[in-house]
């Protein structure tokens, strides 16, 4: 699995980052929480915390939606940016926030049993009911 250099940031530009991804695939999560957070469904690439540099982190707000994980977003523009487990050394960076070309490919749909009822998953990418 290839590692990819990426740069990106939020809509307003207050938060910018550079990173080397842990792999070259994007995970697409259809769980209820991700769908509420993003407005459709989540898409993220895994990055080890030590491989991520963030500028403007004072604008990075966090919401702990469970005891085990939290989500990061820009406090100024509301861009949905990060998902991370509290005790993990990696996090998920929103694929839509990455400057193009990303060098990444959708690799897995997860939590498809919670997907919204107004769309179909038709891209041929493997699906799983939960993880």
């Amino acid at each position: 699995m290839a590692r990819v250099d990426i740069t990106g940031g939020c809509l307003c530009g207050a938060i910018r980052y550079s990173a080397i991804t842990a792999r070259d695939i994007v995970t697409l999560c259809h769980c209820t929480e991700c769908r509420r957070f993003t407005g459709h469904h989540w898409a993220a690439v895994r990055v080890l915390e030590r491989d991520l540099q963030i500028s403007g982190s004072a604008k990075l707000a966090w919401y702990a939606h469970s005891e085990t994980a939290r989500r990061g977003f820009c406090a100024d523009c509301g861009s949905s940016l990060i998902f991370r487990f509290n005790d993990a050394d990696f996090l998920g960076i929103a694929a839509g926030s990455i400057d193009t070309p990303t060098g990444l490919t959708a690799g897995q749909h997860i939590f498809c049993n919670e997907k919204g009822d107004y769309y179909e998953i038709a891209d041929g990418v493997p699906q799983s009911e939960s993880w």
């Binding site: 991700c34 509420r36 459709h40 861009s79 694929a95």
Partner: protein, 130 residues
Amino acid sequence: MTEVQHKGQCLCGAVAFTVTGDLPTPTACHCSMCRRHTGHFLVSTEVQKTALQIHDETQLRWYRSSDRVQRGFCATCGASLFFDAIYRDWVAVSMGAFEPPTGTQMSLHIFTADKGDYYVIADGLPQNPQ
């Protein structure tokens, strides 16, 4: 006859809303602004502003993303909720915020010329480059 109502909320529940009437068929926008704001791409339904009731706006924040648009999100949980066409009579509400059943299906992809490169659009729905 009482009109149908569709309820929705942000991730933390601080911003909850009700839309009265059937939800117009949602559109998927793949422009870079929507992709940065949502983290993937935006799918929303355009409702009349008079049909949308937001029950508590205490945590609702607006970001003016262009001359004619402001984007609403929750200050507590960061949920990307609303695309407000400021000078128009409609506001687009993110489909992911609605409680099921939504009673509708996506009908169109727009700004596909600006779509992300890590995914394909394969659902057979019409695509507009802008």
